[in-house]
């Protein structure tokens, strides 16, 4: 098996150009603000700085055009609060 975890994925994804264009579509992700507990994991781990914390510390999608659908934020959200509109 390959032992590369998301660590390597982070590096690989950071250098990749974004093939998704969200200019006319919906935002790339859906965030369930009722379930989100503002743990900051998604905001800190996103390699493309898509999120900004709101005043409660919950993520808002500040830069949807940067999102590469790399899966990192939703596989690490402990509260199942993030799902993708595209994957």
């Amino acid at each position: 098996m390959s032992d590369s975890g998301t660590g390597d994925q982070t590096k690989a994804e950071a250098g990749k150009k974004n093939k998704y264009d969200y200019t006319n579509g919906p935002p790339p992700l859906e965030i369930n603000m009722k379930w989100c507990k503002a743990c900051n994991i998604c905001i800190a781990l996103c390699p493309k700085e898509v999120f900004e914390p709101n005043r409660d510390g919950k993520p808002i999608i500040a830069r949807p055009e940067n999102c590469t659908q790399c899966t990192i934020c939703w596989v690490h959200c402990p509260d199942l609060a993030i799902t993708s509109n595209y994957k």
């Binding site: 975890g5 660590g7 743990c39 596989v75 690490h76 199942l80």
Partner: protein
């Protein structure tokens, strides 16, 4: 990550929501950022990738923060007494060998209170997938030291640092006879899916140790920071198995190997028992 993901269905990220019990308690009771939730979603993805139906999966758990998991997931569930989940799981598997039995346990639950059940489940090599969420401390009861609290580490019962040696659950399981032993961390969430898939597919006792964060107690008492800091700490300390074999003991101090550490083909308990039954019945 090829072999185990072969039977992968087209997976939407929202698939995780299909496996939750309707109207049952989400958001979870876990602290913000607790690794238990990351393990829960990895289990869902693994079950979905394997194409198992909800009724084919039984989830057993004991007592502890991690053991709340079966209450959120829409599988057949057993929330049992402290440390005894593997005994109940053994009963279920024995009575209905066609079901996939997943046992969710924590470091205190599996190795202290349930230590005996743990080694004997390994010894029998019964086809159960035990997922041991190791956060090095008793979270639910207030941060007491557990059998995996590292020597020197702080907990509410070791305020001057732990003077005991700690268990390595993977070595213990292998020595006791488990035929599949793997370790991963909540940081390596995609690796975790694949490992859990392999563990469920493996015939025999499988242990998956998931190094997880209890920033509320372990992190706070040992000044390791919040959930994000602990996840990054796991990233820095985890070494893929192949690489760890090339490293010297000094280089591995404070680090740990991740990946499938041990796998072998071995006779499984239910199979052996069935053959005994057949023999006795045939001999009448």
């Amino acid at each position: 990550m090829t072999t185990a993901t072969k039977n992968k269905k087209s997976q939407k990220s929202s698939v995780i929501l299909d496996y939750l019990r309707p109207n049952k308690g989400m958001p979870s009771v876990w602290c913000a950022g607790c690794g238990n939730g990351i393990v829960m979603t990895a289990i869902i993805r693994a079950v979905d990738n394997l194409g198992l139906s909800k009724d084919e999966v039984v989830m057993a758990s004991g007592i502890g923060c991690s053991s709340r998991m079966p209450m959120y997931l829409d599988f057949s569930a057993l929330h049992t007494t402290h440390g005894r989940s593997l005994a109940f799981a053994t009963g279920v598997k024995f009575a209905r060998p066609e079901l996939k039995v997943i046992d969710i346990t924590g470091d205190g639950d599996a190795l202290a209170i349930g230590g005996n059940h743990f080694i004997h489940a390994c010894r029998r090599n019964i086809d159960i997938t035990a997922i041991l969420i190791n956060n090095n401390i008793y979270g639910m009861t207030g941060g007491q030291g557990s059998p995996t609290t590292p020597s020197g580490a702080f907990s509410t019962t070791t305020p001057y640092g732990n003077s005991e040696k700690h268990f390595d659950p993977c070595s213990l399981a292998k020595a006791a006879g488990a035929s599949f032993v793997a370790r991963t961390t909540v940081y390596h969430a995609t690796q975790m899916d694949t490992i859990i898939q392999k563990a469920i597919s493996h015939r025999g006792f499988s242990l998956v140790e998931v190094i997880s964060n209890c920033h509320t107690y372990y992190g706070r008492l040992n000044r390791m920071g919040d959930a994000v800091a602990m996840l990054n700490d796991f990233k820095n300390r985890a070494v893929p198995l192949a690489k760890s074999k090339k490293m010297t003991e000094e280089e591995m101090v404070g680090k740990f190997a991740i990946g499938v550490l041990h796998q072998e083909e071995k006779t499984e308990f239910c199979d052996v028992y069935q053959s005994v039954v057949d023999k006795v019945k045939g001999g009448k």
